[in-house]
Symmetry: C2
Subunit: 480 residues, 2 copies
């Protein structure tokens, strides 16, 4: 199969998938026949069959013998958050849950099936090639590179990162990039750059627990804003909040939000940036999942629409290339100098060997090939996992169908307490991420984030079955 | 020359150097003759000559034709701080000087002669061997190591670090070590673990500017305690302060303090730990220079005397093996869990490639050989630089003679403003670290820290000469 064929059928598959998502093609609709697509758009039969096979593998369509392909009924989580979080606008001092650390601790244990983990399976990453690149770069290491790297980052790496943004149509200043110890450090530095202790920061609801932890660490207060599982943060709710409440910053994940997987459209991202610019509020954009898109193109970051330098964009290689290498970055707009200085003050610089290894890997090529394979794998795993959840979990369970990343967010029937479920599952060496992790209050007590970034092998299949069975048992019912 | 011979003459040289330092041998005293040493202690003539040559190279003794070797008169900075800092016990909110960043920025410029730098010359470090170790470790990298390292650090590296402490007689719990992004991150995490915004922290006077920066970043207040250039922090002053003032922590550098080079004796370290234990005050111990001792043994850290778990000991490989690799650690005693959690929250984990490279290097052996060579080189450079300062700087200049590290601290005549000197020197592409960097007030306006960790080649020799000439010019005199 040539690379051109690959692109062609994948483009067709994505066009059709997009039509399904946007409702142009609805559940039960028949897909165009091979003959129609050949006549109208010039596709060869083999291209069409390959595209349909991919859509079927993704669970979007099903073949009916002698009738053709039909759009499947999707179980999605549309409209989950019918009560917007901002209607109870508590400004909450954040307090860390022991649970987060228990969860993180459990992922260190190879015996535990990591459905609660925040990382994909390490075997999905090209460690052999990274090792070769790292070895090559290390052999070429010059003492002079050391003092150069005791700054905002290795020049080669920064140039490569900047080049990738430019290819995707995002223009960053070459010297705007500050290399950090993973996105986590970038986010923390950006947060500190725009806040003082006691300030209020807007987060999504549900939000990534690390954002809540960062707020606690810096003695900040959180306001959670309702976030749609498909479209992302509720802009009307946000606007109402900004009119009512002094806010130091927003911390949002605009693409494949953790835990929902929500993807804001370009139009909504642009509207968000404009809204915040009107109020002079900085946006800390956590964009670590963007490369894991199942669609044909990398979604644009909100940073692409930033004209005021108010977007502090953060990302890393930890989820898409090199977990454990701890190479992330910030492009902090008008706060760049402050972030650079905070970095100098808090950890001086980012380790050179990992920067050299990744810089060399990017120059050698192969990153895009790796990403294509990774995306296909994650899409397939999501489909398989969703089918198993569909089969094993209690009636009334709803779940998201993100267009990228490796999380599925479940809403279980209201009487189920997912913290109880988590504890019972841990006793069976299965970790999960219960909903209470993702909010400073008890709003998501019957919700669950599952990691589908690990191969759905027999062990994981059995774990999903066990989880479903546990979720049906009386021991997971709420006390009140 | 065999390794045993090397050890023998070095031991002899160190014994004699110690006698000179402690005053057993005084300026003008004649050293024992070859015959005496052979008779009394069994040394061969060649061992004695080698030892004397080393002492001469260190500037401690001088040969007089046909008379033997005599102890030289030393220009040291004893008694510099005659007015203890604590007598004006201002609790000062810390505010960052632009100067620190200007200084750090200048060290990135290869054209600037880095007398103001905080790092030794990169060519003093075994990058070839580190690169080979790194390449080997990278080729053996297993995906499973990734999740293991997303914790307190790579197990191999932690075991190697723990083993070195044990060899020096410091018993740490194996799991007490948390690997960090350099000592800077370790210190920042430890500081955050024991303070809340607004708290008061005791630092040395003068103190390392990064400590002042860390305090500012965490919205803390500083009290500076008088520090003797030879003996370290004034324990009487500290005790008086602790009785008068609520203090959240002390941040001290007990061995080869930056900028003074002071080395607290074991007895004084133990007394410090006991004093703080009586007051229940944690000690953050910055111990990054201990491996750079010119004497025969690594000075013990205060941590060695800690029975209450109140010492948060921090160190790194950045000054003695691998600058730019950003591998440091904390052994935080009873605060270990808190530091571990803060690390997880702020940067998740430390980059694996650098940990693997150093772990492999330590296993291969050669670290102690490298260190011996590094120490000899730094001692020689210090001697040469001090001789040049002696020759070129204005009458009345006094300077320290640290027993390790790579800084010399100068007290220039009182009417000289070293900030003016710094600016004039920068115009000639010579960086220095003026005294105002090392205190929150203007106490050290006529002081200067010089880095002698770079080979004293023609360029550096000319720079020291130029600096001395500048220091004699009227343009560096104080305005008032």
């Amino acid at each position: 199969m040539t690379s051109a064929q690959l692109t062609l059928y994948q483009h067709l598959a994505e066009d059709l998938a997009e039509s399904i998502r946007t409702g142009v093609l609805r559940p039960g609709d028949r897909l165009p026949s091979v003959r129609e697509l050949r006549r109208q758009r010039g596709f060869s039969p083999s291209t069409v069959f390959q595209a349909y096979a991919q859509l079927e593998a993704q669970g979007l369509v099903q073949a009916r013998p002698r009738s053709g392909y039909f759009v499947r009924t999707q179980r999605t989580l549309q409209g989950l958050l019918s009560t917007p979080a901002w209607s109870s606008p508590e400004v909450t001092p954040v307090s860390i849950s022991e649970l987060v650390f228990e969860l993180l601790g459990s992922t260190r244990d190879a015996e535990v099936i990591p459905l609660g983990s925040a990382f994909p399976a390490p075997q999905l990453f090209p460690f052999d090639e990274l090792a070769r690149s790292g070895a090559r770069a290390m052999r070429r290491l010059q003492p002079a590179q050391i003092s150069g790297a005791l700054t905002t980052g290795d020049e080669t790496l920064r140039a490569q990162i900047g080049r990738r943004y430019a290819l995707h149509g995002v223009q960053l200043q070459a010297n705007e990039l500050i290399v950090t110890n993973g996105a986590m450090e970038a986010l923390n530095l950006c947060l500190q750059a725009v806040t003082q202790p006691g300030d209020v920061v807007v987060v999504e609801s549900p939000t990534f627990y690390a954002a809540l932890q960062a707020l606690e660490r810096l003695h900040l207060k959180a306001v959670e804003v309702s976030t749609h599982p498909d479209e992302g943060v509720d802009l009307d709710a946000l606007e109402a909040l900004l009119k009512r409440q002094k806010v130091a910053a927003c911390w949002f994940m605009t693409t494949f939000q953790n835990p929902l997987g929500a993807l804001m459209s370009n139009a909504r991202k642009e509207a968000l940036v404009q809204l915040l610019a009107r109020h002079g509020v900085p946006l800390i954009e956590d964009d670590v999942y963007a490369e894991l898109h199942f669609g044909p193109r990398r979604p644009m970051p909100a940073k692409a629409f930033d004209r005021e330098g108010l977007v502090l964009h953060c990302s890393s290689f930890s989820k898409c290339l090199a977990p454990g290498f701890r190479v992330g970055w910030a492009a902090a707009g008008r706060f760049g100098k402050t972030v650079d200085r905070l970095k100098t003050m808090s950890s001086l610089a980012t380790a050179l060997p990992a920067q050299l290894a990744i810089g060399e890997y990017l120059i050698q090529g192969g990153y895009d090939r790796h990403l294509r394979h990774l995306r296909d794998t994650l899409a397939l795993q999501q489909r398989t996992a969703r089918a198993l959840i569909d089969r094993h979990f209690p009636k009334g369970t709803r779940m998201t169908q993100p267009r990228g990343g490796y999380f599925v967010w479940l809403e279980l029937p209201a009487q189920i307490d997912t913290l109880k479920l988590h504890k019972l599952a841990m006793a069976q060496s299965i970790s999960t991420a219960p909903g209470v992790l993702f909010s400073a209050d008890q709003r998501f007590r019957n919700h669950l984030r599952l990691n589908v970034g690990h191969p759905i092998d027999g062990r994981v299949q059995a774990a999903l079955k066990s989880l479903g069975a546990l979720a049906k048992s009386p021991s997971v019912l709420r006390d009140n």
